[in-house]
């Protein structure tokens, strides 16, 4: 007799794992592979315990539990937001019908694809951030890195749960493939470009968690509207955790800017590289890069796929229910600015339903702007005459109508020569990367922090900054 495994103790969940033979069987096959993947592709730095938040339920209070955890023993769980028995589909041709508790056969392939693409991003960032623990600027930051990593791992579990529970053998195969593709791998790269970019340093990590994880927030937000209820509920709960990743990004860039401002004031120069700080124009170049590769994640501005997903009720708009329209969009129009070869922009009228990716991207752009405002406020308060700006959405794009055009950060369409001449001013140069990397020395001492970043205003879960967030050796 095989020993009976206590699933609920090993894997916190609210999906009745102990009563679901099919899910158990799937996880029995997958979990060891996940742990192998984590061992091989997860954080390189070995620790003796990290002060981590573990999701243990979905209730309003006390959904998470904080404690020092040996990272490989982290209890990755499966949680869906509470089910609303009256929930109906709020958009598309099934508007008003009860949400689906099973995958409709008609949409199996589309739903599976959406889940696989979302799922593929989750482990990718763990892989991208694999080496960062070796150069953490403080134990507090190191802890945050691990928190982000384990939660991306849990988000992978969440998508794998959907594949296992609802997509049969094909779902199990896809779940396994999520572990076989790897960020930056020449043979089997991750599906989306931004997730094959290296996260080489901590400034990139903050930018990534600010800009790229924020794309995740918006994608999850559209999937939360899905007519496929298990997907909707899964994404709703993931959004809760995603908020912390945004927080790491926002405050991370805050603290870099704060420190740079201090050094500029102290030495009365913008050229603070020699004083162990990161110059503001370099931060702007990082921002330009991470923002624009994240814009690529929204896909092409016009998309019949997105329109089909919308009509089918698979993927809605950001805050769909708050929109004041017919939620079908068959008659609505929208406009799209397109760069022309002669250097001008033309505006095209299109059916709104074809512009859903653009719609989401615009929501995202407005959200990104709030961060930029926040960082500018720090500079303003320090009396420094420098302002960060979000570049034009046509700048540095590989996907959509702007790819193949050269657009400067201020939205001027230029020729290739002008572009190449300006590129060094706009995007991180090899020298920038080398310089930032030169600052990346680990600071593992309690209460200490690296030279290029300010300490946080508050610690985690009410603990002070000098709390021993991570036990090393």
């Amino acid at each position: 007799m095989p020993t009976k495994i206590d699933y609920d103790a090993k894997i916190p969940n609210n999906v009745d794992l102990s009563g679901d033979r099919r899910l158990q069987r799937a996880l029995e096959g997958w979990q060891p592979k996940f742990l192998d993947w984590w061992g091989e592709m997860g954080p390189t730095l070995r620790t003796q315990g990290v002060y981590l938040r573990t999701a243990v339920s979905v209730g309003r209070d006390g959904w998470a539990h904080f404690d020092h955890v040996n990272v490989p023993d982290y209890r990755w769980g499966i949680f869906l937001a509470e089910r609303d028995p009256d929930r109906v589909i709020t958009f598309g041709e099934h508007q008003g019908e009860p949400v689906w508790q099973q995958v409709p056969g008609e949409y199996r392939a589309d739903l599976q694809r959406l889940i696989v693409i979302q799922g593929d991003t989750e482990p990718a960032s763990v892989e991208q951030q694999k080496l960062l623990g070796l150069t953490a600027p403080s134990l507090y930051d190191l802890r945050n890195l691990f928190q982000v990593n384990v939660e991306e791992g849990r988000h992978l579990w969440a998508m794998v749960y959907l594949l296992h529970a609802y997509f049969g053998r094909e779902g199990r195969d896809e779940a396994e493939s999520l572990l076989l593709r790897n960020s930056g791998s020449p043979d089997a790269p991750r599906i989306l470009g931004a997730f094959n970019e290296e996260t080489a340093d901590w400034l990139a990590f903050y930018m990534f968690t600010y800009f790229t994880d924020r794309d995740g927030k918006y994608q999850l937000g559209t999937l939360k509207e899905s007519g496929f209820d298990p997907l909707s509920r899964t994404c709703e709960f993931m959004l809760k955790e995603e908020a912390h990743h945004m927080f790491v990004g926002t405050t991370g860039v805050d603290r870099v800017v704060t420190r740079s401002a201090e050094l500029i004031r102290e030495h009365d120069t913008f050229d603070i590289a020699g004083h162990g700080g990161i110059p503001l124009d370099l931060i702007q170049r990082y921002l330009n890069f991470h923002y624009t590769v994240s814009l690529d994640l929204f896909g092409s501005e016009t998309s019949t796929n997105a329109a089909n997903y919308y009509t089918a009720g698979l993927k809605g708009r950001w805050q769909e229910t708050r929109r004041k329209d017919d939620h079908k969009l068959t008659d609505a129009a929208g406009s799209l600015a397109r760069p022309r070869a002669d250097g001008t922009w033309e505006t095209e009228e299109l059916q709104a339903i074809l512009l859903l990716n653009l719609d989401l991207r615009e929501e995202y752009r407005a959200d990104c702007q709030t961060g930029v405002n926040r960082w500018n406020k720090i500079l303003d308060e320090a009396g420094i005459d420098f302002r960060f700006v979000l570049p034009h959405p046509g700048f540095n794009r590989e996907v959509g109508i702007n790819s193949g055009h050269h657009v400067t950060p201020d939205g001027t369409v230029v020729d290739e020569r002008t572009w190449l001449a300006g590129k060094r001013k706009w995007l991180p140069t090899p020298e920038d990367l080398t310089f930032v990397r030169s600052l990346m020395h680990p600071v593992y001492e309690r209460g200490k922090i690296a030279s290029w970043v300010a300490p946080p205003r508050q610690g985690i879960n009410g603990k002070p900054f000098d709390y021993e967030y991570v036990y090393l050796s």
Binding site: R22, R25, Q102, V103, P104, G105, E106, A109, G168, R169
Partner: protein, 530 residues
């Protein structure tokens, strides 16, 4: 056409409205005498021995009874009981007022019946002879073409004709175009002339062009025809044996359950009932015909079986070994019924579950399907059961029941790997377990008991969401790999062109040929060639 009546396919000679069936020793007379007021649905008159589905259902019944009930009959004379007209073909008003799917289904059934006449000639030693005693046009000539010999009355006025193209702007779609060149070997330029003139060809020219075989004087026509038939009967190789009466269907072995988007057909295997194969074939044949005609919106048929595979094989063995007239007829009837499945424009999904009996000739049902799923695990409602699904190959799967393309279903399935079929022959008689079945490529997938219901549900729902037209076209293309035969050309090429023409405004538009026929007005064509 709005159809409120449900079409049934059971007929008895005593109740025929349109045909007279009589036998004279080894010769049978099958005389067409259409009751003009006896249309299957109201709205048209069946003048000049023109026919509709109801007329053809009786013809089908007659061909079946001749094979099963009349082992003594070696020649069947098809003629008309009316003076000066043999048959004017399919009724045009019926066609003009029919929905597209009705027209297509009608043509499919008439094609199958014509093929069955040829099958009787080829495999039952029942030679069909057309005694064309008057005008013979369109579908009427196509009935004659399905016969082995065509005798034309030599009255200097009766013609054979395929006037569809010039008169109706559609094709002679019941095999006419194909049989003229492929079966009768008419020269293509003469066939072109023939098929574009509305008045047809008579007398000597018809013989010279190979459109008919012989001329028979008007005086003493019947006597001469009978004499010729008696002569031909001596060449027949009909097997000896007892006939069997085709009693009304008992509906014991085939269950049909109608769902929202699919029909589930469950075929039950034999216990120790000697008449099982004939009965199950008749019931399945009837179920296919009724579903096709009456349930056009049920786009997927789920094929299941229930019973003991060993008993299926035992029964099959007995039928194969008997080598008499009746068992020969039963085998060929099962063959024709499987062919009906092959040309059915429905998605066919076979489910092989514990308790099923997909063995030998019943396995052909699964092989006729577009996909096969076998449950790799205990029965869904009894997870402690030791019972498992299996498939058993037999001689029946290796050429006894060829498809329209002349290949067995296994040869068609493994068209890219003929050696595999040879290897499979070694597996005959062994119940193959799901994993083996899957490895041998005999099923599409073998989900286990945890996945089964969801996989099947999703497969069926997914199917139901696709374009029915595209599915029909796709399935027909996948089902018939490899060589072309007269049959595959008729169901593939000829029928596909005809069905396309039927939907074109030039035929079915308000000013199209079918609508304008008989109004005195000319059709208006869109002149662009497609």
């Amino acid at each position: 056409m709005t159809r409120t009546t449900t079409v049934t396919f059971e007929r008895h000679p005593g109740g025929y409205r349109h045909w007279k069936l009589s036998t004279d020793g080894d010769v049978a007379w099958l005389e067409l005498d259409v009751d003009a007021d006896g249309g299957l649905v109201p709205g048209y008159e069946l003048k000049l021995n023109s026919y509709d589905l109801g007329v053809d259902i009786e013809l089908y019944d007659a061909t079946q009874r001749l094979r099963f009930e009349h082992p003594e009959v070696r020649v069947v004379i098809v003629t008309s009981a009316k003076d000066n007209v043999f048959c004017a073909g399919a009724n045009i008003r019926m066609l003009a007022s029919s929905s597209h799917e009705w027209k297509v289904n009608f043509c499919k059934f008439t094609n199958e019946t014509r093929n069955a006449m040829e099958d009787a000639t080829a495999h039952s030693g029942q030679l069909y002879v057309a005694a064309v005693n008057g005008t013979c046009a369109g579908g009427g000539y196509e009935i004659a073409l399905a016969c082995e010999k065509i005798l034309l009355v030599d009255d200097n006025s009766s013609t054979v004709a395929l006037p569809e193209v010039p008169l109706l702007g559609v094709l002679p779609g019941t095999g006419g175009l194909t049989r003229v060149v492929d079966k009768r070997g008419v020269r293509r330029d003469l066939a072109d002339v023939f098929a574009t003139r509305p008045d047809g060809i008579k007398g000597r020219t018809a013989v010279d062009w190979r459109l008919v075989d012989e001329l028979v004087p008007r005086q003493g026509f019947r006597e001469a025809v009978l004499a010729r038939a008696k002569e031909l009967a001596r060449t027949s190789e009909r097997l000896d044996g007892e006939g069997i009466e085709l009693a009304p269907l008992a509906h014991r072995y085939v269950d049909v359950v109608l769902g929202a988007a699919e029909a589930t057909i469950t075929v039950k295997g034999p216990q120790d009932d000697k008449g099982w194969l004939l009965d199950v074939t008749r019931e399945l044949d009837d179920a296919i015909l009724r579903l096709r005609t009456n349930e056009p919106a049920l786009g997927t048929w789920v094929l299941r079986t229930e019973g003991d595979p060993a008993k299926v094989l035992e029964h099959e063995r007995a039928v194969f070994d008997a080598k008499d007239c009746l068992s020969n007829e039963i085998v060929h009837y099962w063959k024709r019924t499987l062919k009906r499945l092959d040309v059915t424009s429905r998605s066919l999904i076979a489910l092989v579950e514990p308790g099923s009996c997909f063995a030998g000739l019943l396995l052909e049902l699964a092989l006729a399907a577009d996909r096969q799923y076998i449950l790799d695990g205990p029965p869904i409602d009894d997870e402690d059961s030791e019972e498992r699904a299996s498939i058993t190959l037999s001689e029946a799967n290796f050429g006894r029941f060829p498809m329209g393309n002349g290949l067995s279903r296994l040869e068609s399935r493994f068209f890219g790997d003929p050696d595999h079929v040879t290897r499979l022959a070694d597996e005959c008689g062994k119940p193959l377990r799901p994993a083996e079945v899957n490895d041998l490529g005999l099923v599409t997938d073998a989900p286990d008991d945890l996945d089964w219901e969801d996989e099947i549900r999703i497969a069926l729902e997914g199917r139901a969401s696709l374009s029915p037209d595209a599915l029909t076209g796709m399935e027909a293309n996948h089902r018939f790999v490899g060589p072309e035969t007269l049959e595959s050309k008729i169901f593939g090429r000829l029928a596909a062109w005809q069905n396309w023409i039927f939907t074109r405004p030039n035929a079915s538009g308000a000013e199209g040929t079918l609508r304008r026929y008989g109004t005195g007005q000319k059709a208006v064509f869109d002149r662009k060639r497609v």
